[in-house]
Symmetry: C4
């Protein structure tokens, strides 16, 4: 028994149509990103940054969406998870590509809705709200002013390592709570909530906790022309590179473990 | 397999009498609303607003009540959930109407008990306590003074969108954790706690997190003649409209998914 | 099917000896009370009162102890739960009395250990530490000075209602997650954690959240001669009366529900 | 039935190779320690110490790692748990020794990675960051300055008792959620998360919450030559002694309970 095949493949599970599944990925990604944008903007602006609130809020919104949509699409909501699922054949490549498109549309829709609702004034321009919500490092960090005063900076290396580790946590958790065919195991909801809460708790003080590349993408496309200190689009590659790297790493470990297990089973047989 | 019929119908489950079930809905709604009123008033007044506390406290009180009453009434405790359950035939219409009456009586009883216990003085009149507990937007928001100073306002559109999304999260979670006949599935307690915590974490900074129309109703009926800046009864429609709209939307999606699934099953057969 | 008999009675479950079970009740009560005393004293003194921390910390310590000891003694750790279990015949009366003795010894041992470890000095006398940890109302409330300045007071009626509701939440949750013979059901750990977190979140801002009469008792016996504003022993009755009343109420509802269910089953048969 | 044999032994479970299992223990320990170091340093430095965040963050990161690696190595990640598992024959002694080596390497790798990423400047030297992260008591406590001003001190006895109790909570929880052969039971993830959150919530205000001797060890080896007030290596023995003592105590109780149970079963038979 290996990490890969720890759940038997359901023989003839009827799948939802790809359109239903794309709708689920779209809706879940939209609701997750929108909720996080609201928490990071209004929550932090009026009640100070509360790390317990952000970690808890992020964990529970991912868990709730996982519970709602798991039976439809498998509730991936994260291109890193979808890539790892494609690499380990839990999701077909064509489905995976469509999933990522649906997820991206969901994140962009969340950003658009957030921007549409955002109240602004002369003393509180949109850019001030957005600077609370974008993810970044160095001059793009929300702590940039504080850090500079102390002679410190959050380097790109630091951002990559932190986001890589955050993505490894959520991708590995997702792989362990999916069956071979991508269907959710019984503890899927709980495990995804725990993993996102852990990754967010760890990454927030450094990068603002992207964890999922959808989260910075949905807001960066609307913040790029709002004259923030740094255009968040210019730092976006960090979150995508970390996420894809994490997916590749987790998939590689699972495939090697599977091969070793098959060889040892061969010797036994 | 669709989102609707993902659990088989228990053939001859003996139901509790409608009176027992109404008592359960009444008691659960009372305890939930009362706990939230206490947390938002005394908790915020003496220890500052702590968003992690409010999201966690709301999530766990809904989850605890769900665990206690799920086997009696299905633990709906929210007219939006009951409406969605009626529209998808999980609850009979006559039962649903009686449930909503019991829920409303529970919320009003919670408001009455809260007001009865509330200590007040010349320097801290009842209206000051109530302004911490009522839900609202624009002049009815607890952030009104702060927002005005910054030239901002929470519009009615914003309140409706936020509450609509909050209600969609809890109604969809409830539908997914109920069987076809309204009986709770195994993860009902956990999922409802997660969904209410997520919806509250997202909605609190804007509307004070009604999420459930019972919560603003129970307090508004007693706050209406206490000379608050805005009579909360005048803003109550927002929370009911959002809730009913969310219920209708979720039910519509489920019914369409069911129809598509039946048609495709017909083609296969 | 009623709330009472929702789990079938295991035919010949081998029980642990009464001594093992008393040891489990003693150890669990000790660790729970000690952890809460440490959180309320050092946690609040050096990092301000954090309601999310207190509700979360209390919930998880009860849940952890429930997970550890449930298979030995049923993990009651609360005289209100034990009384309700005796009244509904889930625990034999003689066992229940011995359980309560073991629980009380655990709480007193926790208080003694806490006092033994407590560092004190001329500027921070023991009484100052204890005033953070005792439960009380009116002059015994930790908010007494603040409240008085505002012309307010926490009345005895308020303390009784709040503690009664807190106890109802945990006793009802315990009854629903125990089988007929007092053995834990599968979600026992989760449900008890949720119920204690909810009751603590609600009751802390008023009474300091006793929730369980052991918690105020273990500290009051050592704080009685330390010249606090109010001798906490003089307010202890409130927490016992509320707890026993809650146990009686929950048991009564369960027994009535059982009778009604039997009568209706008789008519059907 | 005793606490020891509450789960039947799976007859011929195929185990992963010792190398795979050591890799799992290494990776899990690394990710856990690294996440805690980031939370205690950047989290506390820029957003104040938030006890709910630290308890929640620690609980969820242990739970997430437990979910990911439980099927590979049993997810022990703590020498105290491994020692208790060896003493109760859930883990073979040779495997246990190798597990502890892997865990230690993971903790040291976490410390090295943390130090490598840590930004520092003249005004914020590395020692200032490390003083937030090391565990200690008396002059090694992060509250030393505050305590001294109040005429107080955290004694070594206090540190040992607090850490002993914290370790008892997590070791006992681990033993109850492992089968006889060390394989995880169904609620392993949930219970380990709850136990670590509870132990951390209790111990943080006194010792900074080691709970697991790996956590102080991984950082102390790098902080020893950074001229902190106290060399954290000189206080490290406290965390190891408490952990091993807790493991021995829990194992002793389990073995005695097993013997008593066997004797009483012998009498019955």
């Amino acid at each position: 028994m290996t990490a890969v095949d720890n759940e038997t493949l359901a023989p003839t599970r009827r799948q939802h149509s790809i359109w239903s599944r794309m709708c689920a990925e779209f809706a879940g990604s939209l609701l997750i990103c929108f909720s996080i944008y609201i928490m990071c903007s209004f929550g932090s602006a009026f009640y100070n940054v509360n790390l317990a609130y952000i970690a808890l809020g992020t964990g529970v919104v991912y868990a709730a969406m996982t519970a709602i949509f798991a039976k439809v699409s498998g509730a991936q909501f994260n291109p890193a998870i979808t890539v790892a699922a494609m690499l380990t054949s839990k999701t077909r490549v064509i489905d995976g590509v469509l999933y990522i498109i649906a997820q991206l549309l969901g994140a962009v829709a969340a950003g658009a809705l957030f921007l549409f609702l955002l109240p602004s004034s002369e003393s509180v321009p949109v850019s001030q709200w957005l600077s609370l919500v974008v993810n970044g490092y160095d001059e793009g960090s929300s702590l940039y002013a504080t850090l500079t005063q102390m002679g410190l900076t959050y380097s790109v290396a630091m951002a990559i390592v932190i986001e890589l580790i955050a993505s490894i946590i959520v991708v590995a958790a997702a792989m362990q709570s999916m069956k071979r065919d991508g269907a959710p195991t019984r503890q899927h909801t709980l495990i995804m909530g725990l993993a996102y809460a852990a990754a967010t708790a760890m990454a927030y003080p450094v990068t603002g906790a992207a964890v999922n590349p959808l989260r910075p993408t949905g807001i960066a496309v609307f913040a790029s022309n709002k004259s923030l200190t740094v255009n968040p689009l210019s730092q976006l590659w960090v979150f995508w590179v970390s996420a894809i790297l994490a997916a590749a790493l987790v998939a590689l470990v699972m495939i090697v473990a599977q091969l070793l297990s098959n060889r040892s089973a061969g010797k036994d047989g």
